[in-house]
Symmetry: C2
Subunit: 338 residues, 2 copies
């Protein structure tokens, strides 16, 4: 009789164990046992505990992540620029005038620094030449093919192998706890969508990024979306909360970035709206301070500079994650930084 009386609760407990592995295993195994990891887990636990005053109902669990430098590396330059340069080289035979015309001439000579020296104007010319004048489907197919063979100049790894294992775990952990994860990045929206679902588990409709203007057209009876050589929206700095408003339509509870371009997104996520606003919020910067395993840069970097952000992080109670101290590993596979 005693045995029987115990069996039912035991079975129920087993069922709980089977469906809730996170309760019994480490959700962030690639994070060291430091304050950073502890504060993230504490935030997730209290916002998902219905008995906590910090409880956030499932429909409000919105988490936003920058991409370049936050979910994958961004040195020696944003990876999308490698795609743009490779595509300019591929298209060069159809554009003999590029041999002598900047910024194309520098790209063709492999002098990327000089190609970018013209600033935004040069970058836009390269973006338009490489990423417009075709349908959305053709563009996605170009990015997909490039991703298969392109290799990072320093690690010789495919770019999609240079994603941060601790951040992949954080994305999965938040999703397991009912958060909906979004990418909010300065990168091109349709560039990121090619790999975001497979690599990050973030579906296309949860990727927000910079956009070229697009146009709908019937081509020989087939409906297509054409990418025009015109910037529609830049998803950086104040553009990030704007993108969040237009695409998500509610204020995130959690935000992760790594550069000054993310400040407004972190402010929008965490700063109380008024004196009655006591909701719990969380934001973090990934700080690139690991020259051995990745790259070390912050205030003076050409790409992903973190300067003002470092100054205002503690006043805002934003966590600064040290890649060197807080992360047990960087990439899913061990990279050789030769």
């Amino acid at each position: 009789m005693m045995m029987k009386a115990i069996t039912k609760p035991l079975l129920a407990m087993l069922a709980v164990i089977l469906v809730s592995p996170a309760l019994f295993s480490d959700p962030l195994p690639s994070w060291n046992e430091t304050d950073a990891k502890r504060s993230i887990i504490e935030f997730v636990e209290k916002t998902t505990d219905a008995n906590s005053p910090a409880y956030v109902p499932p429909s409000s669990r919105i988490a936003v992540f920058d991409n370049d430098g936050t979910l994958w590396s961004e040195q020696p330059m944003y990876f999308q620029l490698f795609f743009i340069f490779d595509r300019v080289k591929k298209l060069a035979p159809q554009h003999p005038e590029w041999q002598t015309k900047e910024p194309f001439a520098s790209v063709l000579k492999g002098d990327y620094a000089n190609a970018l020296a013209g600033g935004d104007q040069s970058i836009m010319e390269l973006v338009y030449a490489s990423s417009s004048g075709m349908t959305g489907e053709q563009y996605a197919s170009e990015v997909r093919e490039w991703m298969k063979t392109a290799r990072h100049p320093k690690t010789d790894l495919p770019y999609t192998d240079m994603v941060f294992q601790p951040m992949l775990e954080l994305l999965a952990y938040l999703r397991a706890e009912g958060y909906k994860t979004f990418i909010v990045s300065g990168g091109g929206v349709d560039f990121m969508r090619v790999f975001a679902e497979e690599v990050y588990g973030v579906p296309a409709e949860q990727v927000i990024g910079s956009e070229l203007e697009v146009k709908f057209e019937m081509q020989n009876g087939v409906p297509v979306i054409l990418k025009n050589p015109k910037i529609d929206y830049i998803d950086d700095k104040t553009g990030k909360p704007v993108g969040i408003y237009q695409h998500i339509g509610r204020r995130p509870v959690f935000a992760a970035g790594n550069s000054d371009g993310d400040i407004e997104m972190l402010q929008y996520t965490t700063i109380p709206r008024n004196e009655d606003d006591e909701s719990v919020r969380f934001a973090l910067f990934v700080h690139h301070d690991d020259a051995t395993r990745e790259f070390a840069y912050d205030r003076k970097s050409h790409f992903g500079a973190l300067d003002k952000g470092l100054d205002i992080a503690s006043t805002n109670s934003w966590l600064v994650v040290s890649m060197k101290n807080d992360w047990a590993r960087i990439y899913p596979i061990t990279a050789s930084m030769h």
Copy 2:
């Protein structure tokens, strides 16, 4: 012994019944037993059956719905216009000049037809005056308060009671079968987001609509989104596939509309991309042919005209749903069309 031997499978079967009501009950009870209902169910069943050549993997199950006239009524004019007019009246004391300035003067006299006679230019002036120059949160709060007390001139019902019960069932049915449901509508995105989750079960981030330009600003240390008096994007006609590309980033499998403004969305959803594209797609028009229970209009309506769409529906194999013949009921509660 026999009893015991049966108990386990029986319990397992009971568990299946409890978690899968759709297997055993009618998913579309407010649809009559006509070809329309049969074709919808056939489409859903074959695209979710892993053994069918028409199978669509869960991540590609994207369904898009127009709002005005497709999910709720749109006569005698789009419901959002009632909000705009009511707000103009509310703001009138602060704008004495509106008493003599069109289109405001006509609104204040209650002559809505004349207020709209100036076309897009007049409508834009009214939109800007009623729906910009405030934060996103203030705007949402205005819409929410208005929704509570506003009543439709003909039915005397709250506008959110004038949603179509058969379409609510269709939304829920598609979601139960793994489809992600989106609204893609000419209405204001932040107008619809106020009620879309509660009324349609569609979360804010799955609502795509027309947008005013917005700006991020710090106001006395508080981050806000300000709505500017400038159109950023009109989600109608060719704007619908454009919005789908920018917000969802993939081609829908299912689309529902009710007017010529939805034609491009239906084309984008259903027309094969090339000769090898044999994927199964589904699109429908809701045809307003029920003057007794709702409204009867199509080719010549000022709002939601369905003209060219009626002509090209059958060539495209788009289902035309007769509200009169295919729907057993219109609204969740019985309305008196006095």
